[in-house]
Symmetry: C2
Subunit: 706 residues, 2 copies
């Protein structure tokens, strides 16, 4: 774990491979890798290890890995679980650089297996061996034919080398994805399944691929991580190097257990936090294997527009409408062509729709100048960032494709860098030819749109992270900020602490007599609100512990007495800290901001609109602390009720900048005190009209109990 990402090179590109448990039987786990490497033509050295020695699959076998003439890059361990620790110890003695352990029967089964894994982890750390598994399907390098897997999918075809690295916690999903990639003609750089992750985990592999020159796309599958900070570092490295990360994360319906009682905590399902992390780091999340392959395949072409304008040229008006619908769903703009361009197109094809989508009608297929003219006009005058061309099933017609190819070649020659996507059905060789011309080919038009939207997401994310772009650093933690003391805190204490942390708290004062209250009211400014402060009283209004909108000193004095009398009557035994006197705040849009300590991710920040938005609709969004103001704005834009902040029912637009700053500032404080804070609830934070700021009315801080 202490090793650098580059220490994974012996795993991903081994030149020398030993197999402990090597077998002549090509169906056995110890026989398969040898068979497949021999068939494929691995040019490195294979060392079968078997206590009986002799010859295995035509290769000289060694009785012990310590007998080998050299220290190998990778050793595959296929012996049963109880024998694995000894085998790996021998590997360490033999100077092996990395180990792949297929064997299952470890932590997924028994306590004994947990203990074995601990031993394995220790050996890995002590001897600087990188270790994959146990209980995994291993590794593969399609370019060198280095095969560290027992998977049998080579029986029906070899993966194609390329620039997509596939990383999966699940062996079966990893294998399935590799075969799907092969069937679509997608090229693979590294393939690895991490299993029980005793040493190498998905984060390590992403980190390696983030700096691997041969990887441009990282397609990963995870069920969860125990070390999100390393995952985030890996994502950041990938983004900095312009590598697209596509993640499939399952388990959304299994909402993680939430420990704390606070409002914030009750909403923070673990899956929502993964989602937040992906958005924060520009990772595109996908929800199906089809989508994983579609987006990864599109990203492999390496074009990532940072704007979202889509041009559509179609031989079917219906598909033009459909793709416009789907584009809107994915926030892609389908802008109207300039009038001049529309006139030009109308002259070319009087029956066509020319606004964008450009519907040439099926007539285009019998009239190549119309096809070429439409496409060229869109490219030269549409000011679009991507152009989708729907050609239906012409890919099946050699007669039509002969003409279409010529047009596509000519257009590509003049527009070498334009992102063009063909939605069409065709056979493999036709697809390969078109992809050779740098056209993306995605059969289904909806799926094509989804992939284009992902490319735009990557483009925007890369632009944000690019050197020279305005960095979205988290704001500074104010000098006067203090950590919350590790005990129960009153709302006055919470308010003071958060005010020092830079949050816009109302300046409340605790009063302990009617005179004191009158003095406090003068200090904070009329009108005021008064509230009993007591750790023993939960529902203050219900017992008469709250007075609102007091306008004069007499009202304040009377209010003090009335509250004390009510408390004396209804909560006689409550310990009383005093009465809070604060400015009466009203108006503005009610929002909730908060912090929740996720058991895996640490402090995460929550944002939601007040009232039913949070309570009924669970309309909240999260970010992992800390983050900057731009990220806070993206967060705010994610809630369904976003329009509330634009001003509804004649209200002025709200001060979203102030809200974003509050979120960023809270995130910085949360990150700085992640070891103490259990949760923070600022509810409501009233966001006033633009320019008038936001103000927090009530706050609660709960610290970790140990």
């Amino acid at each position: 774990m202490s090793s650098q990402a580059s220490s994974l090179l012996p795993l991903f590109d081994p030149k020398t491979i030993a197999i402990i448990g090597a077998s002549d039987n090509i169906q056995k786990f110890g026989g398969r890798p040898i068979r497949f490497m021999k068939e494929a033509g691995f040019t490195g050295t294979i060392y079968p290890i078997n206590p009986r020695g002799g010859v295995i699959q035509g290769l000289q076998a060694y009785k012990d890995i310590r007998d080998l003439p050299e220290a190998v890059d990778m050793c595959i361990v296929t012996v049963p679980a109880p024998l694995v620790v000894d085998a790996v110890r021998n590997c360490a003695e033999a100077g092996v650089r990395s180990v792949v352990i297929f064997s299952s029967g470890f932590s997924e089964v028994s306590e004994e297996g947990v203990a074995w894994q601990a031993e394995l982890a220790e050996i890995a750390a002590q001897h600087d061996i990188r270790m994959v598994g146990p209980n995994c399907m291993g590794t593969l390098n399609p370019a060198s034919f280095a095969i560290g897997t027992f998977a049998s999918f080579f029986e029906h075809g070899w993966p194609k080398p390329g620039n997509i690295s596939i990383i999966s916690q699940s062996g079966a999903v990893g294998g399935h994805t590799l075969v799907l990639a092969r069937e679509r003609g997608l090229g693979v750089r590294n393939w690895i399944t991490t299993g029980n992750e005793v040493d190498v985990d998905v984060a390590d592999c992403i980190a390696h691929c983030a700096t691997d020159p041969g990887t441009t796309v990282i397609a990963a599958y995870i069920e969860g991580t125990r070390k999100p900070e390393r995952l985030m570092q890996a994502f950041a490295a990938a983004r900095a190097n312009g590598k697209a990360v596509v993640m499939m994360k399952v388990g959304a319906s299994e909402v993680g257990a939430v420990a704390a009682n606070s409002h914030t905590a009750s909403l923070a399902g673990a899956d929502a936090i993964y989602d937040a992390m992906f958005r924060q780091y520009g990772v595109v999340r996908v929800y199906s294997l089809d989508e994983l392959l579609d987006v990864s395949g599109a990203a492999a072409a390496g074009q990532f527009p940072a704007r979202n304008r889509l041009g559509i040229v179609t031989i079917s008006g219906g598909i033009g409408v459909l793709t416009s619908d789907i584009a809107a769903m994915y926030d892609l703009e389908v802008p109207e062509l300039p009038e001049k361009a529309q006139k030009k197109l109308k002259a070319l094809m009087p029956l066509a729709a020319v606004r964008n989508p450009v519907d040439t009608t099926a007539q285009m297929l019998n009239d190549m100048p119309v096809f070429e003219g439409s496409l060229r006009t869109m490219l030269s005058e549409g000011d679009c960032d991507a152009t989708l061309v729907f050609l239906s099933t012409v890919g099946f017609s050699p007669r039509m494709m002969a003409q279409i190819r010529e047009v596509l070649e000519n257009v590509r020659a003049d527009y070498p860098d334009d992102l063009m996507i063909l939605s069409m059905v065709c056979h493999g060789p036709e697809r390969e030819y078109l992809e050779g011309l740098k056209y993306l080919v995605i059969e289904d038009p909806n799926r094509a749109i989804r992939a284009i939207a992902a490319l735009v997401d990557f483009g925007k994310s890369f632009a944000r992270a690019a050197p020279g772009s305005t960095a979205d650093s988290p704001p500074a933690l104010p000098n006067e900020a203090v950590a919350p003391p590790r005990r129960a805190l009153s709302e006055i204490e919470a308010g003071d602490i958060l005010a020092k942390a830079g949050l816009p708290m109302t300046p409340g004062r605790l009063a302990n007599s009617a005179d004191d209250a009158a003095q406090a009211a003068m200090e904070v400014g009329y009108p005021v609100v008064m509230k009993i402060v007591s750790p023993d009283i939960q529902h203050k209004s219900d017992i008469g512990g709250v007075k609102l909108n007091l306008q004069t000193v007499d009202e304040v004095r009377a209010g003090y007495q009335a509250i004390m009398a009510a408390v004396g009557q209804h909560a006689r035994d409550a310990a009383i800290d005093g009465i809070l006197v604060a400015p009466m705040v009203s108006g503005g849009v009610e929002t909730i901001i908060g912090v929740h300590r996720d058991p895996v991710f640490g402090p995460v920040v929550l944002f939601g609109l007040g009232g039913i938005f949070v309570e009924v609709l669970k309309d909240v969004t999260f970010r992992i602390a800390p983050f900057g103001v731009d990220e806070a704005h993206r967060m705010i834009n994610e809630v369904r009720g976003r329009a509330m902040l634009d001003g509804v029912r004649g209200q002025a637009p709200a001060d979203v900048d102030a809200l974003a700053m509050a979120l960023a500032q809270l995130s910085v404080y949360a990150a700085a005190n992640g070891d103490v804070i259990e949760s923070i609830d600022i509810n409501p934070l009233l966001v006033r009209a633009k320019g008038e700021g936001a103000v927090a009315v009530d706050a609660l801080i709960i610290t970790q109990s140990d």
Copy 2:
């Protein structure tokens, strides 16, 4: 249009086909159908018609359709638009039963084209000829090889006959879908594209297929309809006959123009009404071509469970989690297996997850008794309505498939009627074999889940419509119900009218003096609310025209004077009808129910929760009037804020039955007066605690202006 659906038989299954504009050139529109029918082996008679006569593609040509020895079932017209009317007139004289007009250049282009279409419609009506097109891609019967299309997709393969009828307004989408169906091995019964729909439209075709014994699934594409009532009749007929209708309707992003100013109207985008219609008639709406084919293909197997319990058996734990996620998204339940079954499975495979999803791990592939045992246990003890089996890419491995086939054969023999879906990648012949065993094969697991959910939707819809099921008839219109007079109506008049229509209106009374108001208050019961009633005053509260919660006769008298004084001051010239005295109503969940006259669909009923749910979130749902109480309940369950009615913040659950009855009652009144009503707004309708009913506080009726 007046003809019966069965009058389409000469179109869908013609035995004799003439082609006006027949050509020797097999690339021309007049040459292609002849070529393809000859190649395919159409067993009926083909009559080429060409003014030059002679021999065309080896067949004797006739100079005029009136010279034919018999009246043909179908005549294809391929001549240019200006010649079409004459050609069709000749068809009429020749007793032709149906005509397919490929030619474009009609209403989609010019006023002249509109006039020609009117003539064509007249000929069709007068001579009882069914007419397809113009501007269409025609028809096809894959079983008889009757080809009424110029499409060239036969160049790359013939469609397979089967039980799915494909109906499309768009020629290109229809053609594309047909090729996709062929590539997936789906069998097609009828194929038709309707183009400009001068006579035959999508509704006619669905109606025909609803009673066509050879059709079990109707896959249709529409952009819109001008005659929704016929579409609804067709849907109802299909449902009554247990035929699954799968609709792709595009244009969701082009929200239809909304004429009226009322609140209801401003929310009723046309696409939402289509959506309502589909739900109302048990039509499954799809949003992509992939989905259209997936759902249609699954429905073609003819199994429609009426419950939603899903069993999952998988060789990959990851896919088990993924499919559980997706099942939850589609409201499929993945119930835990009974303990006994779990024990049995655990004995069979100690390393497996046995709860459901049952994760056998990849080990299953090397141990057929484990595979067979898992599947049998799920089928016999899981009490599920569908079982999904994920087998990854084993379909590519003949070695593994040999064993798996045997298991699947054995299991099918013992469970002949169970709905089982295989999610696996395989080649065509393997898929065909498995489909022969009545397994559905859908490669992608997410898509498999989506298809299963559609089958459940159909199953539930069929169960609702089945003879003997509790019929969900709309409630009766009360005897005292009256049509609204066609003029501006005050809220008191609106309230009276809606009360007579059976809606739970508050019993308001108009008062014209303080004495009168006091009398009214006694009649309606204290406490009361008082409001100025004037066609000239919009914002009553703003000018002091409203008094709430008046408790005594003195307050009522004082209130009357105060309102009149305020109105005299702020709205001196307003015409005053009087002051409304009504019971003060409060509490309950705020909802909005209303009616909006859609220019296409006529009266539609709207339901939404009050406040931000409607105003900010546009969280509303629609139904076409009239409908019954069960349908109203389904409608209520569709809004995102549904939980509001279950009781939030400690409130009691609301009287949803009363709400549903109000919606159904309103729908009946709207349908009965669809020729007068422009819109009705009941806002708010307060839904009180269960058993306490609902009460409408305010109502507005706007009648049609002509």
